[in-house]
């Protein structure tokens, strides 16, 4: 009982402290009163401790299965193991909002500690902004979806966790995505700090460079993990369906990517200040909007939404945040003038600006497609869905332009690129791209978009290899290093630039996988008797047997299929059909044989008593490239994130 009470009252006390903290910080900053600012800062630290305590309470209650708490009874049961009981913390509405808040408070605490002696003009506003975000979630957690509500008659057993969420991918995916989502609040808070205090130099950007990178990285990895989970768990053979929940995670990442690029222009050339401020405000708004989208159920029905105070709270907060942020920006417009003008189309600035426009364009298309059903139902009373064809039709051409820019952008010089520089930089990568296209054409690739994607990815790889080659050969000549050493030193001395190239390389690999697996997927649905086989894309699947097993949570049937290529047995897959007991729900666990060339993906739909079974088979080419691209993306991001001095060879002692 103590844990329930403590959790409940911690959240209530946090609410009061957060209100006080916001007031003290803003008033202290306006009146230049150090004591008030310190009090506000301490209040924020207090909120951090209280929210951590409340989270610990909820985790404890889940671990001991205290069914008096409604949330516990609703999300775990007697057979659920400790790992999933822990993950039930973010398995439901209340818990996942508490996780959001917890991460925000941890970040606020770290930011306050990092900046005890730095950014003194900005910090009161930064703290106030972070606490305002926390306040919003505290209001929700105290009054709309309280996690510590108790039941008058506690059940003997809980309802259990949704079976689809009982997978390690789903366990780490939400916290991962939230690490990213919530992280964008920090650069946003610094931006508001800069606008409010009038200290509009690049300090707010440089101070939060790592935070932005951190948030962006985890947001990206969260998207990939979501895809990996869908592929492995949902059994429809793909990893991305333009589902509103997926779109919600993609949108902040896209605008965050634009922000990450365009701040470089402000740092180097003092341009695009208004644009950068807008981008981070939009990114922040999209993280709140994404949480709203996934949590309010607005997409499934406007009516469900209209009846919940929850959705309205989000919309009102979003509106208030946008009005205040853009209001501050407009107020500071005269001080946000560009220090330079764009000089040439063929400049780093122009290509980054175009990259920004493309990213924001894709975001807008995704946003429009995602909310169109809601708008249509609200305005015309016609309920529609916007399917993947819309998103693909709009985004694939824009995406191809994005890959081109991903390769071309870094080749342009700042301000303007001379004809000679252009030739020097573009000839080899273009030759590589055209060569790749010719080879693909020879091998019979006729899918225009896929071929273009492959060619452009080859171009990107070409530019990166060329940049590396130039840097390495210069170091080998001048420093007398060996090639591996030179590559390492080159990367470590220019972490931001070469880390960025590695990220670009990862994206190129990823796009090859995406293009191949969406253009050349083979699907076949078939009914097989025991011993019969089915051929698809040069692979033969032979249905060899069926077996059963039971665990405390579910019983399952496995169909065993031998996989043959050119007459040789290359392995087997065992797709599974599960039936969970509580809640009683069937799930499909596909049998996947992963390979560098293609994945063999088998779904076991149903079986008759005589053993005749229905299957869905898929051959998904190059899916592993998507995940490999993700790994390279991760490595590149880590390089960018490493401290400036790390990994360089120390100077030889004289």
């Amino acid at each position: 009982m103590i844990a329930i009470q403590f959790g409940h009252y911690s959240l209530l006390a946090s609410l009061v402290l957060a209100v006080f903290g916001i007031g003290a910080c803003i008033f202290g900053a306006l009146k230049r009163r150090a004591d008030l600012i310190a009090a506000g800062r301490n209040a924020a630290v207090g909120v951090f401790w209280l929210v951590s305590g409340a989270s610990a309470c909820l985790i404890y209650l889940l671990m001991v299965r205290d069914y008096r708490v409604e949330y516990v009874a609703g999300h775990v049961n007697n057979t659920l193991n400790g790992f999933y009981r822990f993950s039930a913390f973010w398995g439901g509405q209340e818990g996942s909002l508490l996780l959001w808040l917890l991460l925000l408070c941890v970040y606020a605490y770290v930011v306050i500690r990092q900046n005890r002696d730095r950014n003194l003009e900005l910090m009161p506003y930064v703290t106030a902004t972070l606490m305002a975000t926390a306040l919003f979630f505290l209001v929700i957690l105290n009054f709309v979806t309280p996690p510590f509500d108790t039941l008058t008659a506690p059940p003997a057993d809980g309802r259990g966790l949704n079976p689809l969420l009982q997978d390690w991918g789903m366990v780490i995916h939400p916290p991962n995505l939230y690490l990213g989502y919530v992280g964008f609040a920090v650069p946003f808070a610094f931006c508001i700090g800069a606008l409010a205090s009038g200290k509009l130099d690049t300090d707010w950007i440089t101070s939060t460079r790592r935070w932005t990178l951190f948030a962006w990285f985890f947001n990206g990895v969260g998207i990939l993990l979501g895809g990996a989970w869908a592929y492995k768990e949902l059994g429809w053979g793909g990893y991305w369906a333009w589902d509103p929940v997926e779109n919600a995670s993609l949108m902040p990442w896209l605008v965050g990517t634009a922000f990450l690029h365009s701040v470089m222009i402000q740092e180097k050339r003092g341009m695009l200040k208004v644009w950068n401020v807008s981008l981070i405000i939009i990114t922040y708004a999209l993280t709140i909007f994404g949480t709203f989208l996934t949590r309010s159920g607005i997409i499934s029905s406007v009516h469900a939404f209209a009846n919940s105070s929850f959705g309205w709270a989000f919309l009102v907060y979003l509106l208030v945040a946008l009005v205040i942020s853009f209001g501050l920006m407009i107020w500071r417009l005269p001080e946000l003038q560009s220090e330079h003008e764009m000089e040439s189309f063929f400049s780093r600035e122009a290509s980054f600006l175009l990259n920004n426009v493309v990213l924001v364009g894709i975001t807008f298309a995704v946003f429009w497609g995602t909310i169109f059903p809601v708008v249509s139902e609200a305005v015309k009373g016609v309920k529609v869905t916007v399917g993947p064809p819309f998103f693909n039709q709009v985004n694939v051409p824009i995406g191809l332009l994005l890959i081109l820019l991903c390769g071309a952008g870094p080749l342009f010089a700042w301000r303007r690129t001379s004809r000679k520089q252009m030739n020097r930089s573009f000839i080899y990568p273009s030759v590589v791209a055209v060569g790749a296209l010719l080879v693909l054409a020879l091998f019979g690739v006729r899918h225009v978009y896929a071929a273009l994607a492959f060619g452009l990815c080859a171009f990107v790889v070409g530019t990166i290899v060329l940049e590396y080659w130039r840097g390495i050969s210069s170091r080998v000549r001048h420093q007398g290093e060996r090639i591996a050493r030179a590559a390492w030193e080159l990367t470590m001395r220019n972490k931001r630039r070469f880390g960025g190239y590695i990220v670009h390389l990862g994206m190129a690999i990823l796009f090859v996988g995406v293009a191949a697996s969406s253009a050349y997927q083979e699907v076949g649905e078939v009914r097989l008797r025991l011993g019969e086989s089915f051929a698809l894309d040069g692979v033969r699947m032979r249905y060899e047997g069926i077996r059963e097993s039971t665990t405390p949570q579910y019983r399952s049937a496995f169909a065993r299929l031998g996989v043959y290529r050119a007459g040789f047995r290359i392995g087997e897959v065992e797709p599974e059909k599960r039936l969970y007991f509580t809640p009683p729900q069937p799930t499909t666990e596909p049998g996947i044989r992963r390979g560098a060339r293609s994945d063999i993906y088998a779904v076991f739909a149903e079986a008759d008593p005589d053993g005749t079974a229905t299957f869905k088979f898929m051959v998904n080419p190059l899916v592993n490239w998507v995940w490999a691209g993700g790994v390279v993306f991760t490595l590149g991001s880590i390089v960018c994130f490493l401290p400036e001095r790390w990994g360089r060879r120390r100077k030889k002692r004289a």
């Binding site: 609703g74 439901g92 509405q93 309802r159 949704n162 159920g297 499934s300 469900a304 919940s308 003008e341 764009m342 000089e343 189309f345 122009a350 175009l354 426009v357 364009g361 807008f364 298309a365 429009w368 497609g369 169109f372 016609v382 309920k383 529609v384 869905t385 916007v386 399917g387 064809p389 819309f390 998103f391 039709q393 709009v394 051409p397 824009i398 649905e525 078939v526 009914r527 069926i546 059963e548 019983r555 049937a557 039936l579 007991f581 809640p583 009683p584 729900q585 069937p586 499909t588 779904v603 739909a605 149903e606 008759d608 008593p609 053993g611 005749t612 229905t614 299957f615 869905k616």
Partner: protein, 158 residues
Amino acid sequence: MSVQKIKFLIAGAVILSGFAYLGISGFQSENLVYFLTVDEVSQKAPTLGGRGIRVQGKIVPKTLQKNPDAMQLAFHIQGEKGTLPVSYKGVPPDLLENGFPVIAEGKLDAKGVLVAKNLMVACPSKFEEMKDAGESMPTDHEAMMKEAVKRKQMSEAR
């Protein structure tokens, strides 16, 4: 305004109109799927040719015909006034039985049959949503449990 600025504005306008074109052309009717009730479908049938529609309703008892070897299904969905015939070819969804609520997505053919490309059982598994809607355990739950038992017996018999 400098010449340079004008150039950039023109380039920006060209790019944005390209995006706008893509965005607007993406909203062709074949990329949209309309949610309709069974009765709306029968009212508007003549105007729905070629449009994607999505209909939800319960399977009319005893209309479900399965042809497992051809992997084909046919049934009627119950509306308030009439019913709508649906046909489907492919791997059937889990727990498809007479009386179950289903969601069928596809196009009407010339005879007024909804040829479903996607077929889902409106699965009563989303406890949270039901809790929010103030519903108790659905009656379908019993059917699901029966199905579970049936499968169990089936597998034990083997």
